[in-house]
């Protein structure tokens, strides 16, 4: 709780009207999102195998597999990028703290 030793920032004031408006918007917005997705036609069923070796008459498994592997490769690069950035930061901080702590 703020007291005499608390420095209050003007920029973190919580307006009650903003909060109440946002609560109403969140309730309506969430319901709207769920209803919107419920209206989606089940178009993806067209990808189910109907002929041996094909996903649809126009799309062969080879093409589908190529898309799938490309998505996996991109996602693999993404998680690897994130991993190396945060691991680098942690190891860098660790090294600095050890050096500043006077350890070899």
């Amino acid at each position: 709780m703020p007291d005499s030793d608390t420095i209050r920032s003007q920029l973190v004031e919580a307006d009650r009207w903003r909060s109440l408006t946002a609560v109403v918007a969140a309730a309506i917005g969430t319901a709207a999102v769920l209803v919107a997705f419920d209206q989606l036609p089940e178009i993806v069923n067209g990808w189910e195998p109907i002929v041996g070796g094909h996903v649809t008459r126009e799309t062969a498994y080879d093409q589908f597999n190529a898309i799938w592997l490309a998505v996996r490769a991109v996602m693999g690069l993404y998680i690897s990028f994130v991993f190396f950035v945060i691991a680098g930061q942690l190891l860098g901080h660790w090294r600095r703290y050890v050096v500043e702590g006077g350890e070899p």
Partner: protein
Amino acid sequence: MTARATDTGRGVIERFNSVQVYVHALLAISIFLLWLTGLPMTFYEPLGWLIDLFGHSNVVLIHVVAGVGLIAVMIYYAVYMALGLTTGNTTLRHVMFGLDDVREVLQQLQWLAGLGAEPESGKYTFLQKAEIWIIAFEVGVMIVTGLVMWYIGVLASTSPNLVMLIVRDVHAIVAVTMLMGVTFHLFMTHVKEFPMDRSMFDGTVGIGQACREWQSWAREEIGASRVPCEERTHSSVLTTGMIVTVLLFAIIWTGVILQYVLSPLPTGPSLSQHIAPNALPGGTLGLVYFLGLNLAALVCIGSVVAIGYGIYSRYGRTQPA
């Protein structure tokens, strides 16, 4: 502001308002619940006990309810921020990237290499800004892919179908990437002030800590050119924790790479079938994955408990005696 506060560094600066505190808590609880129910679906063998804990028939239901809660909180905060823009009462400028952040990145790299002083930052460091935007982006991806799977995918009566298998992979990989990002955030922001930084519950931060972590912001808030900073002290707990966290990330990262990136597709081919079999390795290596993934699950459980305790404590302090 008082003389005592600025002179001795014992005072505190209000960093988050009550809306930000509760939004943070609700977002965190819904995300941790999503992981606790989603991770055992992704890594069934090492984390099957979580499914037993929640009950087989409840896991998906809890996952969906937590997901809907996440959507509601995200919309709430987006509208709250948008309304703040219209009145000028917003903290959005603190999280936007600018040229100062480029300078800060370069100074940070110099500091890590031992070639310069640690950079001063505004209310959020460039890493914290990146965390905020990356997590917002990843939550967006999770919501869209989750809704697609819920309504026309794996939970629909006509499922499974092949496209949903791609969506499922994206959902799983982004979820685990987000787990690493949030664990990094947990460590660098909340646990670094061992045993726990309480600013996410009481909304305030000590002047000394503010000066040490966000010196430009502290000066701006206090209105003084010189702010008393806390000295950083070497902590074995902190440095050991950093190494353990890196190892945990490495286990989770390689686990996802093996099971969701390199392993063969159900339809046959793979990026590298020789490297990755269909499942995580067994034996001693399997034990490493078992321990690492269960440690991640325990971090999620511990975080939910900590958030619940923190919010309960805050609520207790606001009640009249």
